[in-house]
């Protein structure tokens, strides 16, 4: 039986700070962790604090082992794995809670503070917002304050809480230039060492690789940013802002699908471009998908892992799990002119037999009334424009033969419905057609002079193949609600709401604030989070390093750190230097050197003079004179002449 001794209360000064540091580090995880973990942590923290306050004994070892086992199994049950940020942070929280229960001595808290730092790190791996930087700095200051509280002098010493806090802050201040130097110069690498476990628990937002009318309606309301675009010159007109994402060609009567991330080397050669190129940089939010958005039609792009697929859409080799920036050049005037082989013609004109028969019949009769394919397409658009078709974000549900239901019964829908119906009508008469999913429009942010494309801007349109023009974009939604194409959905909805409620001014103000915040975030993403190998090279080149490579960076970094550390050392030296010696004391020291007799420890000047005076009358007189002047210069009333008299007396003293 192990003897259980109570705690001695030695942790009272430091434990609250350790707990505070842990709680602060855990806070950003709480919304992602199972509730029981937070509860377990809080319970253990409260329990431990109670134990310390009442000098109770720590829980028995077997109880701690059982608790550890239960909690570990709990994490396994909650996550079904122990790797990745989610289970990792859960395990850290559990470790902290259990370690608290066996922390007896002050120094045992080291482990807790290490855990606290790892928790902060884990929260940064999870998300990196603008406020994450002040958060992490505060967390480190708090942890370091707790660290200082842990190693107090035996009697508590000089150190108040405020002083510990100030010391931690001061050392952080010294460390900041070192951190900046390392951050800027430490060579970034492009490829990871080991595979990054993807956290599938958090929901993805964005487009899907299949379309059955109804899917996009939820997106239309989401304000989340899909990507941001910075143009080198002027932005293209709103009507040309079609952001091509993925192309669907397979239709089963209800759902469009068929997107595949395949590289097609010939696809780019099928492009004929004209007019001014548009150069821009896109910063895409992670989608966990492979498609890459570009202005119609992309002609050049920066990253080697991005390629063009057979339907002239861009994709990346691996899913986009992190924010990604790329440059691209597009042309808004272009032709896509592949050869239409019989194989592709079959692929782009296939309709399932016996599906949507009324639509097929309508298309065939309209084609008979038209001169050629192009005028037929125009006639279909005309029908959307002139007959009673409505644009709505909340269309009624469609049963079997959804295109027929839409065309003849409900006549309400949004881009997907129109694009799907139009493509089906084209296929019904043998015109190759396909659906393009992407975004249309976007909002120019005047603060940062870049375009914000939101999930609400998601759009679907069609491309048809005409013998003399190749693939040609047709946006049937434009025929129904032209203003939506002109301004994008955000602007259209906003002005409508504001006008109807008479709230135009305040809403515009709030909107402007939102744009400013987004501009800050864009800068943040661009410069801080996006500081990768390319940015680092260009930034260092801008600073004056020619052809930066990792050797030069490390060399510069070493020198810079040495210089900064030297500077910090100097600051510390000034901080701890003794007060300057009194001028009179210096003169007196000169006198004792002249006299050739070392003053004893604690000997007063008078005693010293009389000891010196034992060696002769003349010496005694001289010593007395210097001593008298010294005492009046150092301790007497302020007198500017006294110092000169002392100097003269010392100068006149002869041994």
């Amino acid at each position: 039986m192990v003897k259980r001794t109570g705690t001695d209360g030695s942790l009272l000064a430091s434990l609250p700070w350790t707990l505070a540091a842990l709680a602060f580090s855990l806070a950003p995880h709480v919304q992602f962790l199972p509730v029981w973990i937070t509860v377990a942590f809080l319970a253990c923290a409260g329990w431990r604090w109670d134990i310390e306050r009442h000098r109770r004994a720590l829980p028995r070892p077997w109880l701690r082992v059982v608790l550890a086992l239960v909690c570990f199994l709990g994490v396994l049950a909650s996550y079904e794995s122990v790797s990745g940020v989610g289970p990792g942070s859960a395990l850290l929280a559990i470790m902290a809670a259990l370690k608290l229960l066996e922390t007896r001595k002050r120094r045992d808290q080291f482990v807790l503070l290490f855990i606290s730092i790892f928790l902060v790190m884990a929260s940064l791996l999870r998300e990196q917002y603008l406020w994450s930087l002040p958060y992490l700095i505060l967390a480190v200051v708090l942890t370091m304050t707790a660290w200082l509280r842990m190693s107090l002098a035996d009697d508590g010493g000089e150190t108040s809480v405020k002083q510990s806090f100030k010391t931690a802050g001061r050392l952080m201040l010294y460390a900041t230039p070192l951190m900046l130097a390392m951050w800027i110069l430490f060579p970034r690498i492009a490829t990871p060492f080991w595979a990054i476990p993807v956290d599938t628990s958090s929901a993805t937002s964005g487009l899907s690789d299949r379309m059955s009318p109804g899917d996009i309606s939820s997106l239309s309301l989401s304000d989340a940013v899909a990507f941001r675009v910075k143009f080198d010159g002027d932005a293209p007109d709103p009507i040309d802002r079609y952001w091509r994402g993925l192309v669907l060609y397979r239709f089963n009567g209800r759902t469009w699908s068929g997107w595949e991330p395949i590289m097609a080397r010939s696809a780019r050669e099928e492009l004929l471009v004209a007019g001014e190129p548009v150069r821009y940089q896109v910063t895409m939010e992670p989608t966990r998908q492979q498609w890459v958005f570009a202005l119609d039609i992309p002609f050049e792009w920066s990253r080697s892992e991005i390629f063009m697929g057979p339907q002239h859409q861009l994709a990346k080799e691996q899913p986009i799990d992190q924010r990604m920036a790329y440059q691209a050049t597009s042309y808004t005037r272009y032709q896509i002119t592949p050869k239409m082989t019989s194989y592709s013609r079959t692929r782009y004109t296939r309709l399932p037999a016996k599906s949507n028969p009324r639509t097929v019949e309508l298309a065939q009769s309209m084609r008979r009334a038209s001169e050629d394919d192009e005028s037929f397409a125009k006639a279909v658009l005309q029908r959307f424009h002139e007959e009673e078709y409505f644009y709505t974000l909340r269309p009624p549900a469609l049963g079997s033969n959804p295109v027929d239901r839409f065309m003849f019964d409900t006549r309400r829908g949004f881009c997907e419905h129109y694009a799907s119906a139009f493509a089906v009508m084209m296929r019904a008469v043998g015109i190759p057609s396909r659906i393009v999913l992407g975004y249309q429009g976007g909002e120019m942010n005047p603060m940062g002079r870049y375009l914000i494309v939101r999930q609400a801007d998601a759009h679907a349109w069609t491309e048809i193949w005409l013998p003399n023009r190749g693939w040609h974009r047709v946006d049937p939604t434009a025929a129904v609600a032209p203003e939506r194409i002109e301004f994008g959905i955000t602007g259209a909805m906003l002005s409508g709401i504001a006008a109807s409620w008479g709230l135009a001014a305040p809403i515009a103000f709030v909107h402007r604030m939102g744009l400013t915040w987004d501009a800050l975030n864009a800068k943040w993403n661009d410069w801080i989070l996006g500081y990768g190998p390319d940015k680092q090279d260009s930034f260092l080149e801008w600073l004056g390093m020619d052809e930066p490579d990792w050797r030069k960076m490390m060399l510069t970094l070493t020198f810079l750190i040495a210089a900064l550390v030297g500077l910090i050392s100097l600051v510390l030296m000034m901080r701890y230097r003794p007060p300057p010696k009194d001028h009179a004391a210096l003169l007196y020291k000169k006198f004792t050197r002249k006299a050739g007799l070392v003053p004893n420890c604690g000997e007063t000047p008078q005693d010293y003079a009389s000891r010196l005076g034992q060696d002769g009358e003349e010496l005694a007189a001289g010593a007395d004179r210097v001593t008298a002047q010294y005492l009046s210069a150092r301790y007497g009333p302020p007198n500017p002449a006294a110092m000169d008299l002392l100097r003269a007396a010392v100068a006149g003293f002869k041994n």
Binding site: L136, M150, T159, Y174, I568, P579, C601
Partner: protein, 337 residues
Amino acid sequence: MSSIPWQFPSFPGLPSLRRAVGERVLRWARKRQGTDRHQTRLHSKRIYILPTGVGLVFALMSFAMLLGSMNYNNNLSFVLTFLLAGLGLVSMHQCQRNLVGLELRFAGVDPVFAGQSAKFRIAITNRSKNSRYHIQLYAGTVLSEVQDLGPGDSRVFQLPLPTEKRGHITLERFGIRTLFPFELFRSWAWLHMDLQGLVYPRPAAEAPEPPPTQSAHGHRQHDARGEEDFAGLRRFQDGDSPRHVAWKAYARSGELFSKQFAGADTSSQWFDFDHVDTEDLEQRLSVMTRWIINADRTHRDYGVRIPGSEFPPAHGESHRHACLEALAVFNGGHVNG
């Protein structure tokens, strides 16, 4: 002479290797620094620094975090990692500067009886305008308390050295160290002040009555009586115990008087080395020590006679000290040479 087991602070490796290397380092430091004066100011050149175990773990953690940040290309983790690395570097310099410029002064050691610990007192003064934290003295495995020194503060640190044998105890070397700020580094300095303390012989637990000796008045010693019987005042003489100063009388008259007690026999008594009833030298000295302690407690005059020296009967602190010191350093009556 006693010596204290000395360990090199937190040096990794095999114990024997560690000791061998440690001793070499100590010899080297001694040769490099020479003997220090009893008042010494710590110069930065003599302050050494090594990471502690916690510091090594901290470095390992920072490295792991660096690998993680590189792998995830996560620029905020880089900020965290580099901030911690920077803190490590800063704390190294802070740790060393925490000692530089401190003034150490030997503030004495009181004589003790063998078996007690000799408390070497070192006064440390911080002349700078900023506090010094977490300062500790150590000598081998003996540690002083950990104290902070505020701006301009001077504090006394005690090193309680265990004693075994009578004679002089030498503190050849002691160290001053600090773990401030984060215990990641330990910086220390060795001081070689060659401090000496005196260890009286261990008093015998039980001693026979001192053999009767002829007092100056020619009659046998009376039994000691209690101190309670106040007999009067007499003018303070050197050697009178401060406990017997009549402070009230001093407050009235401004002169120092000692209280006299009836029990304090003014007749004298001799403690003679040759009259102790045992052969063993140390045992004899122990018995004599006990007699002196007892006699001093009862304020009787006593004289001590050992081969080679003689202390005529008297009483008081300085007499007691002189007698005990003679016993402490007594070499068995052999004439030097």
